[in-house]
């Protein structure tokens, strides 16, 4: 495996007595598409949120592109908890799309996409606007630039959110149950955008999903989470076609029954 772009080493996260991530280890190669599946409460979303620094971790180290995200090296070489500015530097390589879109309601689609590149990357308004128009066209919303989130359907909002995250030129994209809040018929348009992203860009993607069909078709690797650890992982064919662990089999058959 080439040098991983994301590396979790013995990462533990607790909420009081509840351990959500339990000495988790995970390496993700550049350009790899990883689908994360598992029962609710198994730590899937927490993994993404810890990587986006939305949750602190209690033990272990997370590295992005060979740089520690949660820690930074002190003068004597030991790792100490990262300062806010160090976290901002490393975090810039990651983009995230949320289940509930989280668009800025007081801004139109175009403003939602240009705001961060202008504020954070220091891009000029003209350049940011051109880029945002391209991105919004790519997600099929070239005609909706001036629409506010309240004037867009859920699927359209989620596509704006994807364009907004891409505008920051991340190396790693995190998708946290991005179709869970959508009507089934709107899921397809969002998944199509993600499919195109996967085939046309060399983005590393980590995706928490309940869409097993999509995970099977899209991912290079599927990780089954159980009790804060990766219980079983493999290629989609291995994991869906021939799961080894009893817990994985039980989960997959329960999901199949539900569908």
């Amino acid at each position: 495996m080439p040098q991983p772009i994301v590396r979790f080493t013995d990462v533990t996260k607790r909420y009081g007595n509840l351990t959500v991530l339990n000495k988790l280890n995970l390496d993700v190669a550049p350009g790899e598409k990883v689908a994360i599946i598992g029962p609710s409460g198994s730590g899937k979303s927490t993994l993404l949120r810890a990587l986006m620094t939305l949750e602190s971790i209690d033990e272990g180290v997370i590295c992005v592109d060979d740089e520690p995200l949660t820690h930074m090296p002190a003068r004597d070489g030991r790792l100490v908890p990262a300062s806010a500015s160090h976290q901002r530097k490393v975090r810039g390589k990651i983009g995230m799309v949320f289940q509930s879109f989280n668009l800025f309601p007081h801004m139109c689609a175009l403003q939602n996409v240009i705001e961060a590149p202008m504020q954070v990357l220091g891009m000029g308004r003209k350049e940011a606007t051109e880029r945002a128009e391209d991105l919004l066209a790519m997600v099929g919303l070239g005609e909706k630039l001036r629409h506010f989130p309240s004037q867009l359907s859920g699927g359209q909002q989620q596509r704006v959110a994807i364009a907004r995250a891409l505008a920051m030129r991340p190396k790693v994209m995190l998708f946290d149950e991005v179709t869970s809040a959508l009507d089934p018929e709107l899921c397809g348009e969002v998944l199509n955008v993600i499919r195109r992203l996967g085939s046309e860009h060399n983005l590393t993607m980590l995706m928490v999903t309940h869409q097993m069909g999509f995970a099977r078709e899209f991912a290079d690797r599927v990780c089954f989470f159980h009790q804060g650890c990766i219980h079983e992982q493999g290629t989609p064919d291995q994991l869906f076609g021939n799961p080894q662990q009893e817990r994985t089999k039980a989960f997959l058959s329960a999901v199949n029954e539900a569908n």
Partner: protein
């Protein structure tokens, strides 16, 4: 029976109007300071750093729980003993601004708390600095619902300016009392001051509503 003497009223009008300029100055300068300081206090109170949030929370509670009159007395009569010399007007503006900053801080806090958590997560995921996050994303959303409450405090502040007559600030109420004590006629000056506050309060409330309406339009 003492009827309203229109000639007398007309004769004291210029003095009252002149003093009303001080009332307006105190109100607007005080409010300008209060809404900026209030915001800073609200943000400081939300800070994760306890060395900052706790003293600020204490200050806000202390000032909200003691009368404005005592605070301006301290500023004008007590602080000079410790080297802080302010004119009556300066002490008055500072006192009323600080008092209302603590009230507006609580209003801001409610507004900031009402911004959904997902918005904060989005600004983190987009790696925005705290300053641009507040300025571009959080404040515009926090301000709209709290504008009526802020507007109420502007009107309340206007009506609290007569308290400053206690530290010799010659605002419109102090002027009316001066006129009364010299002429032994209180009906005209006090009535006129009442009407002044009534008209100005209504005008301010109208302005606040206009601002709200405009924000409502630009938001959609």
């Amino acid at each position: 029976m003492n009827f309203f003497d229109w000639d007398f009223a007309l004769s004291i009008l210029p003095d009252l109007l002149k003093a009303s300029l001080n009332t307006l100055l105190i109100t607007f300068a005080g409010f300008a300071i209060a809404i900026v300081l209030g915001l800073l206090l609200a943000i400081a109170r939300r800070s994760r750093h306890l060395w900052l949030s706790w003293p600020v929370a204490g200050l806000i509670e202390f000032i909200r729980s003691t009368p404005l009159l005592i605070q301006v007395y301290f500023l004008f009569y007590v602080f000079p003993n410790y080297g802080l010399n302010l004119t009556a007007l300066q002490a008055g503006i500072l006192g009323i601004a600080l008092h209302y900053a603590c009230y507006t801080a609580e209003v801001y806090r409610a507004g900031l708390d009402a911004v959904p958590r997902g918005q904060w997560e989005a600004v983190t995921a987009l790696n925005m600095s705290p300053l641009s996050a507040y300025r571009q994303i959080i404040l515009p959303q926090a301000l709209r619902p709290i504008l009526p409450a802020l507007g109420n405090y502007l009107v309340a502040m206007l009506k609290d300016t007569p308290v400053l007559s206690a530290i010799t600030v010659v605002e419109i109420m102090q002027q009316a009392k001066n006129i009364g004590s010299e002429s032994f006629r209180y009906l005209e000056p006090i009535t006129m001051v009442g009407i002044f506050f009534l008209l100005l309060s209504l005008a301010l409330a109208w302005c606040v509503r206009r601002v709200e309406d405009r924000l409502e339009v630009t938001a959609r």
